[in-house]
């Protein structure tokens, strides 16, 4: 049973560039959430996708956008990168939407460094 997978594992970008991160959910899961984890902090919720639509969003600017595909995989796009976007980006998958208490399973993350 494949768990959550993310690619790439590491990425180095320059300020102003754009980046796309990818996530495949755990088998059987249909909901994907993205989190940003700065060094030494807990993960912060970016947004959540269900049925190919953004259903919830955290306190992140419009530079952060995403997409979910029919096979439930998802992408996170960040435009006009800032130094402060350097972080570990985590994808989590779960089953169902707005049912509360659904367990979320995390991927290994993508480490993004902006120089």
């Amino acid at each position: 049973d494949a768990g959550v997978t993310q690619s790439p594992t590491h990425l180095i970008k320059t300020r102003g560039q754009q980046v796309t991160l990818r996530c495949s959910p755990k088998s059987g899961h249909d909901t994907v959430s993205w989190y940003q984890q700065a060094l030494g902090q807990g993960p912060q919720f970016i947004f959540q996708y269900y049925e190919e639509e953004e259903r919830q969003r955290g306190n992140f600017p419009d530079r952060f956008s995403g997409h979910q595909f029919p096979n439930y995989s998802s992408e996170l796009n960040v435009n006009a990168l800032l130094l402060g976007d350097s972080a570990l980006y985590l994808c989590a998958s779960s089953l169902g939407y707005m049912t509360g208490g659904d367990e979320q399973y995390f991927g290994p993350g993508t480490r993004l460094t902006v120089t």
Partner: protein, 110 residues
């Protein structure tokens, strides 16, 4: 706004000692999850608690959800070096959007 406060932030102990990590909030959560995270990896789910007052045990780890579903604790008995890591609590306010605490970094020395 940080809704979940974890304490202590850092804990350094010897193998065999017991410890407790606390996760507190003024908000009521529909569920609360505990994760352990190793450096450079994603958080790994340890347990989910849903009912107020619920106690769950996972080998040497005991998790408790407060009666009012606003707080939780993680107790480790006879800690081992393999328990070293970042422990995160995360609450769900009926939205499936997890709100994470700041984490407790545990170091267990042999």
């Amino acid at each position: 706004t940080q809704l979940l406060e974890q304490s202590p932030q850092f804990l350094s102990i010897q193998e065999g000692e017991n410890l407790t990590v606390y996760c507190n909030s003024s908000s009521v959560f529909s569920s609360l999850q505990w994760y352990r995270q190793e450096p450079g990896e994603g958080p790994v789910l340890l347990v989910t608690v849903v009912t107020g007052g619920e106690v769950k045990k996972l080998k040497r780890l005991t998790f408790q959800f407060g009666d009012a579903r606003k707080d939780s604790s993680l107790h480790i008995t006879a800690a081992q070096p393999g328990d070293t890591g970042l422990y995160l609590c995360a609450g769900d306010i009926w939205t499936d959007k997890l709100i994470f605490g700041t984490g407790t970094r545990l170091q267990v020395f042999p």
